[in-house]
Symmetry: D3
Subunit: 251 residues, 6 copies
Amino acid sequence: MTTRADGRADDELRPITFTRGFTTHPAGSVLVEFGQTRVMCTASVTEGVPPWRRGSGLGWLTAEYSMLPAATHERSSRESVKGKIGGRTHEISRLIGRSLRACIDLAALGENTIALDCDVLQADGGTRTAAISGAYVALADAVTYLKAAKRLSDPQPLSCAIAAVSVGVVDGRVRLDLPYEEDSRAEVDMNVVATDAGTLVEVQGTGEGATFPRATLDALLDMAAVGTEKLFEAQRTVLAEPYPGVLPGAN
Amino acid sequence: MTTRADGRADDELRPITFTRGFTTHPAGSVLVEFGQTRVMCTASVTEGVPPWRRGSGLGWLTAEYSMLPAATHERSSRESVKGKIGGRTHEISRLIGRSLRACIDLAALGENTIALDCDVLQADGGTRTAAISGAYVALADAVTYLKAAKRLSDPQPLSCAIAAVSVGVVDGRVRLDLPYEEDSRAEVDMNVVATDAGTLVEVQGTGEGATFPRATLDALLDMAAVGTEKLFEAQRTVLAEPYPGVLPGAN
Amino acid sequence: MTTRADGRADDELRPITFTRGFTTHPAGSVLVEFGQTRVMCTASVTEGVPPWRRGSGLGWLTAEYSMLPAATHERSSRESVKGKIGGRTHEISRLIGRSLRACIDLAALGENTIALDCDVLQADGGTRTAAISGAYVALADAVTYLKAAKRLSDPQPLSCAIAAVSVGVVDGRVRLDLPYEEDSRAEVDMNVVATDAGTLVEVQGTGEGATFPRATLDALLDMAAVGTEKLFEAQRTVLAEPYPGVLPGAN
Amino acid sequence: MTTRADGRADDELRPITFTRGFTTHPAGSVLVEFGQTRVMCTASVTEGVPPWRRGSGLGWLTAEYSMLPAATHERSSRESVKGKIGGRTHEISRLIGRSLRACIDLAALGENTIALDCDVLQADGGTRTAAISGAYVALADAVTYLKAAKRLSDPQPLSCAIAAVSVGVVDGRVRLDLPYEEDSRAEVDMNVVATDAGTLVEVQGTGEGATFPRATLDALLDMAAVGTEKLFEAQRTVLAEPYPGVLPGAN
Amino acid sequence: MTTRADGRADDELRPITFTRGFTTHPAGSVLVEFGQTRVMCTASVTEGVPPWRRGSGLGWLTAEYSMLPAATHERSSRESVKGKIGGRTHEISRLIGRSLRACIDLAALGENTIALDCDVLQADGGTRTAAISGAYVALADAVTYLKAAKRLSDPQPLSCAIAAVSVGVVDGRVRLDLPYEEDSRAEVDMNVVATDAGTLVEVQGTGEGATFPRATLDALLDMAAVGTEKLFEAQRTVLAEPYPGVLPGAN
Amino acid sequence: MTTRADGRADDELRPITFTRGFTTHPAGSVLVEFGQTRVMCTASVTEGVPPWRRGSGLGWLTAEYSMLPAATHERSSRESVKGKIGGRTHEISRLIGRSLRACIDLAALGENTIALDCDVLQADGGTRTAAISGAYVALADAVTYLKAAKRLSDPQPLSCAIAAVSVGVVDGRVRLDLPYEEDSRAEVDMNVVATDAGTLVEVQGTGEGATFPRATLDALLDMAAVGTEKLFEAQRTVLAEPYPGVLPGAN
């Protein structure tokens, strides 16, 4: 029987850790680890909304993803130094923003913005799915903070939890949560963003240099559901602990 | 019974046209129309490959998507004037490139690049799916051109045809090929890139501000297959005509 | 006797076509063709004026010229991807704007802006003169649109028509409307922008790598007048047709 | 009789000064003054040519024009800080380069480049014509330097002198060498670049917000010829003095 | 007696921690903490040197400093998104590079580059001095790695250790290692980079909005020496432990 | 005894010249020369302050330093053309701004900005110290101008004079005011900004590729004091002359 290089079963996630309160300035700050992939996810509350949304009375949620230069196996160059953001960074930032906007009622924020920053400290495959899963925990903490600060018009603006996982076909087998070693040679690669209410938020499947039948897509989606269930459980467990910092009004 | 604003049935494409030989300088040049959406798709052959591919003996295929400022209902600002490419442009350019690379054997090109340019002259929803479908026809013409010029090591480097279509849930109904009026208020939106061999290349489904059950995903994929079948037929019909320009060696 | 490669007499224009209503979103949209040179010219009305003009009560007219990557014989790189606009693009955009501002009373617009976009779909010499000539027709349509929308304080803000043509010395002969094949080896090259009132708006003559006597300049200006007369006639003919779209208030 | 604010006759230049050897590092360095307009023009010789010219055996000449922030009546912002070059700067840089390439045989340079830098220290109208006239003197010095260094294959690569002057219609009168006060309200404005062989290099006439008859164009060209004659005389006088620095091989 | 908000004596450092092997891809990776200030410092070895150094046979060492958006009390915007690097970032990156180049013999590297990346995860004053002190430890690890890989021509290219500390005048008192709360209201602020051989590498003292006598400078330098001594001790202690990862050739 | 290449004693400045009224548009305009180093320093008064300072009632002072391309021995490329400002330029601009803000009471300006532009016409070492010393004279003239225009709430907002000088260790000797030939091979290099009240504003000492003992730092500071004393004397002498232009209200 073919086994994975790291000894996992095909439908097994890597060790998952969410460390809340990883840094102290943002309202939510989480270090998420999917095996060797480590992403610092923060949720900062800033006043005001983008120009096109002003006067609507609605808040906004935006996300920025970035890879530290030394996060990859070979050092990659810094986008601020190059003076422009690459297509991959743009694409993932937009995906994270869309995914997290699916769970929050922005009307409750008033004209304020939650900025999610997902900075990859170490990359080993699945950085975007780790970022989404971790950003949800940071967002939940920011909501707790805003609630304590009495800055929400609706006390529970989050309608569900959000998590994401990668699945793919590697060595002809459908596998869950691909590390870099598998991801770089996968025949098909899919990222699935789901809610703990059992629905889907975003599905992106791609066969770079290959194509795949509908049956494979179905098998990948089944496998992803196994992974997101476990992620929701891990999120629930860690969020059962009290807010890691000092809440406004606490004393 | 609810009908669509333009009178179509839910599973009906807009009128589809591919005009080959739309301009004369590039090896392939196609104006593709999905109803009021019109995209000029060209395939230009240039010598050399990107730095990271040099010395491999393999060719490359890349794509750039762009919206002319006056293509949209309200004029949008020009990205060259702003000095940077937006996230949406980046994301679609990458999608087109990945999609078309799925059908071509780049080894046959030697170290040459095919650049696909998809410039939207008029936008009415589905510009990325029209672009992919039209780019395939331009690519097929460029391959014919290269073959006549005896610049291919393999006489038939295309393994299949590629087409793409949008599907979505609008007014609670699963619909095919959304125009702007439907796209802008769709609850779920999905783009499906497929091959005429019956396989999938890329699936991107998203529920901005909403989520959707697996059953909806299945219904959307079924509906997309109806659309791509008709697109393959239209591509075959138009490509049955001779190459629209003068081939090298012809006289 | 020396004849031109395309069989034209020295003082003969290439076939000239203006297609109004080429696209439907902008108030004016014209495809202009000078032989194989094809430029899409649109006139879009947007609210507001640039900062330095605010509070003046006056409108503004601006122009942006751009070459699609596949418009040239060899594909040229996209300025949005390079992140900056080249000197040639800047220079032509400014020329188009200055030229068209010569015929319009901007006070009639109030603090609104007309943006002229001239995108070259196919280049075969004379793109800037085709752009100016086509932009005038798009502007005339935009004015018709604004008048119907009752957004003009003066019902006829256009004081004259504007057209432009290139002239040059090729093979020692003064010639009208140079295609790329002549333009690229012309000893002297001149662009003349004129009004149908018989006056000049802009004259740019240059002898790259050569110089020319005053007598040549005079002969070039005479030749240009022949060309602009025919262009005004073609503009008048096409503008005699009704507005190609639906005017505000029409029903 | 209408007189000019500075007391000059209509066909009179402002006081013209060329100071050679203004700085010591470049092969040619000239401060040119047209009245209160002062431009530092330098000619630097650098190894190599732009990529598109490599392997041709030919040299190249390029020019960059720039306005110091405090050169204008109101401080203008610095283009390096804005991160992009404006259209006007681009346009003038290109004009200076084209103009000076008209007098030099680039084959004599081998694959080397002469970079002309024209930095405006103080602006009072006519900065581009002063820049061209001063750049010629700097270029002549650079040629003397290269000849002494035995780096020219042809001992006299300059075929003529180049000078430029502005002319315009102000208060209904044709006038020579407009200062800012006249330039800013001129009805027609023309820049003429000429050679001391009596030929023209570049003619740019424009009527921003106005148009002009052919007769005016003729009068402007006549007036310009008066001005360039005097500029050639001034250039000859100053260049009759020895090279202002130390020539290679001198001791 | 005035005491500091955090209870420290004037000449007392905050708790200092160096965590080696913080991430695993770079040859050296250190999390340095000066109290609440936390900086991830990595040393990556890349092939080749900058163009101006090619062919010299010498290596190079460069540094890039960056602040994560959520590192500061109020979220700051991301420089890659703004498309340019700010002056402060530039200044600190250059300081770190100069400081670390003082301790290494670049000839030993051959034509290879060590890139130091200092990314601030959390900022509370003294980020540049923490970065320099941590970068030294990462550099020491990278040197150990290169030595094991037999890529050094000199087995001990480091001539000394480097550390840095901030000192300042706050509330009229000379104090060591200022946190943000003190730094933001310091009358004089100085950063001192020193070697464990007792010499200085860089001294930058500034009195923004104030000036200071020479005697104050002397007192600040005395105080800094107290701080750097303790930092060298901490570096020595942590570097006494074995290399935290797997060395080439180890098994 | 070792002598300097230009014959100066170790503690001797190069010939120092301040030419006030070098150009006429800005309120203050000074050409400062430290030997062959020549910098044009202007002080322009503009309305308004940066966004972060609006509503404070306080003015602002900012500085921009730039090197003309032909100012250096080998022509350097133009930062506006490269589209970004280099680290060295950023660093020096910030230093000049900080240094001059130390002598002025910005409250006296109201919400207006003084922009100091320091453009290096010719570089021969010490450009930043010449720029600071010259900028003070330009600032003093701008203050005189503003006072005459009755735009200051405090008639004497300058609390002291500012000058700067470089010192270094060359050939093992401490030397004052290094020209390029010494600067490029100095073992230690320091820039000292001081006030004529005997205090220090900024001290930046660096040993690129070397380190230095505290005793050297002390000797360098002593030497710098000798130089700044002479610079203050030269500033006082030149500022004893009347304002070089026409003051508001003068007639």
